[in-house]
């Protein structure tokens, strides 16, 4: 008999069960057989993730661009190392063919590599030195917004998921991923990638659970500075937008495409610094 494992949440660099003691069954695509059990993250789990993410943000933001780049590349390497695990998961849980599964992992790895190379470049493209009319050195520097929650699409697309995470990380933010209902079992191997990529605890947290249970809480938590809303549920997006205005959360709608500068720039703040030029 197969041992069905329960996939734990990934919070603050650790694999933990939900404090609520709740779990739900994730079935093999199109069948009634259970693939795994997943923790159903509660509000408290989310709150813990935010706490951890705050610290993770500080640590991540203070790393050099070069170091961030190295770490994202490390994620590509670790994904490569777990290729079979991912492929098996996609074949078994999603019913993909070997060819399809391989392509999914390939494109995800490419995406890690793409953003790895962007970490130390986008500042030069989107930042600026501004020729003000006066004796001042003036430059616009870019930094992350802060703790960002990613609401993943229910329709699972591995590359899109990686793209969404990477665009947030590249911008200098920490991320709390709330996986969609499509393939929450990806939590296991994906969290292991992050756990072994020299990230500080809390830079990436991954939760499985139900958006409808957590959406108000995410929208209203003031330490969450922005939300990347990649789900197709537009009504939920508008509702969360409305509820998030109290802290002027940056509510970012579904990305139009992958692997592009715009996705990074959705999660940055521009800081313009003035200094006199004189003796």
């Amino acid at each position: 008999m197969k041992v069905v494992k329960t996939i734990k949440l990934y919070i603050n660099g650790e694999f933990v069960r939900t404090e609520s003691g709740r779990s739900y069954s994730y079935n093999v695509a199109g069948k009634n057989t259970q693939f795994a059990r997943l923790c159903q993250a509660s509000r408290k789990d989310f709150r813990n993730a935010v706490e951890s993410s705050k610290e993770g943000f500080k640590s991540w933001a203070s790393k050099t661009a070069y170091n961030k780049s190295q770490i994202l590349y490390r994620m590509a390497e670790m994904t490569e190392g777990k290729r079979h695990e991912f492929e098996e998961l996609f074949m078994e849980a999603l019913g993909k063919t070997q060819g399809e599964a391989t392509a999914m992992v390939d494109s995800a790895i490419d995406t890690f590599v793409y953003y790895s190379g962007f970490c130390d470049k986008f500042h030069q493209i989107a930042g600026s030195i501004n020729p003000v009319a006066g004796p001042f050195h003036n430059f616009t520097h870019i930094e992350g917004v802060g703790v960002t929650t990613l609401v993943e699409d229910d329709e699972f697309d591995f590359q899109k998921l990686v793209d969404s995470i990477c665009s947030i990380l590249t911008g200098g933010n920490s991320v709390i991923v709330l996986l969609g209902e499509g393939c929450p079992a990806v939590l296991g191997p994906l969290a292991e990638v992050f756990a072994t990529s020299d990230l500080s605890n809390g830079t990436v947290n991954i939760l499985s659970g139900h958006l409808d249970e957590l959406r108000d809480y995410i929208a209203q938590h003031r330490e969450v500075r922005s939300v990347s809303f990649q789900s197709s549920r537009e009504d939920v997006f508008h509702d969360m937008k409305q509820k998030s205005t109290d802290n002027m959360k940056r509510m970012i709608p579904r990305h139009k495409k992958q692997k592009c500068l715009e996705n990074i720039l959705n999660f940055v703040e521009y800081k313009t610094v003035w200094h006199p030029v004189g003796y």
Binding site: P135, F136, P276, V277, G278, Y279
Partner: protein, 323 residues
């Protein structure tokens, strides 16, 4: 620039902490005074005050007794009486306030006897530049002789130069000791103005430090420039010095005077300086004892503007330019 430590007469040490100046901020602040709009009676009063504060200066290699006599005549009576009469005919209903004499004439030591003769009894001060003016590049004993001679001739104020070479190479003690020595040579009755030659010190940090050293060493006035180096007095440099005077006063209770010199040619500029004094040190320094302009052509423009202020007309330039 770090804290400067100096030995003072008697063997004690003083330290002058670094007091940084931001150039752009200082320039901006100085610029705000030039935006003041001084009109009507306040303008007229300021013009009169500026005359009373003027050190009418001639410091040429071509100075002669004749030139200095002319200068002294103008110092006593800046405007020939006949033109004042003409002015009063133009504005019969206005009371014309008499044009005051200037504060001092400023000449080389060799011309001091001429000035003494011409100004006898007028109360106008005789300022003499000394200490190997303008470069100050001679040994101290010669500088002191220069001072003693000027004093002996009857100078009532000595305008000395500091050794900028020593300052810039970091020999602050030498700069300080020379001022102390010159002050002693001046004695108690002769006022000492210490010229920093800010155009050679270049940075405002240097100006601040030199100002403070001069005040510690016994200067009665600190003065921007010899007039021989460009730039001479500027608004920001003067502001730095006024703020140093303010801080020195807060710390020691001693009121030191200020003299911008060189480059102040128009009445408008002079009013800007007075506005600056007014809004930094205040009324106590709006006084010829505490503030002077070192200038030559300024006086004519002040007079021109006074005439215009009374009559609404501009007079021939020539009638003011006899000196």
């Amino acid at each position: 620039m770090a804290t400067v430590s100096l030995k003072v007469p008697g063997g004690n040490k003083i330290t002058i902490p670094h007091y940084p100046i931001d150039m752009i901020g200082a320039d901006e602040r100085a610029g705000t005074f030039t935006k003041r709009s001084i009109k009507k009676q306040s303008k007229l009063d300021a013009l009169y005050l500026a005359i009373e504060m003027t050190d009418l200066t001639t410091l040429g290699g071509d100075d002669t007794p004749g030139k200095v006599e002319q200068l002294c005549g103008k110092a006593i009576n800046p405007v020939p009486p006949q033109y004042l009469e003409e002015l009063s005919r133009l504005v019969p209903n206005k009371e014309l306030r008499p044009i005051p004499s200037v504060a001092a004439v400023c000449v080389y030591p060799e011309q001091v006897p001429v000035a003494v003769r011409c100004l006898e009894g007028t109360g106008i001060n005789i300022a003499s530049v000394a200490t190997a003016f303008p470069a100050g590049q001679l040994p101290l004993d010669i500088k002191l002789k220069d001072v003693q001679r000027a004093v002996k001739f009857g100078a009532t104020e000595i305008d000395m130069v500091i050794d900028r070479g020593a300052f810039l190479r970091g020999d602050y003690q030498k700069v300080f000791d020379e001022i102390v020595a010159v002050k002693e040579a001046c004695g108690e009755d002769v006022h000492l103005k210490v010229i920093l030659e800010t155009g050679e010190l270049k940075t405002y940090d240097n100006v601040r430090l030199a100002s403070w050293m001069a005040m510690e060493a016994g200067a009665d006035f600190i003065k921007t420039s010899t007039g021989k180096v460009q730039p001479a007095a500027t608004m920001p440099v003067t502001l730095i010095m006024l703020q140093a005077i303010q801080d020195f006063y807060e710390q020691t209770g001693k009121k030191i005077g200020m003299k911008p010199a060189g480059g102040i040619k128009t009445a408008k500029q002079a009013i800007h300086y007075l506005v600056m004094v007014n809004e930094t040190l205040g009324s106590d320094w709006l006084d010829p004892h505490m503030f002077r302009f070192g200038a030559s052509t300024l006086l004519n423009d002040l007079l021109r503007q006074i005439f215009a202020q009374y009559s609404g007309q501009y007079f021939y330039d020539d009638i003011f330019s006899l000196d």
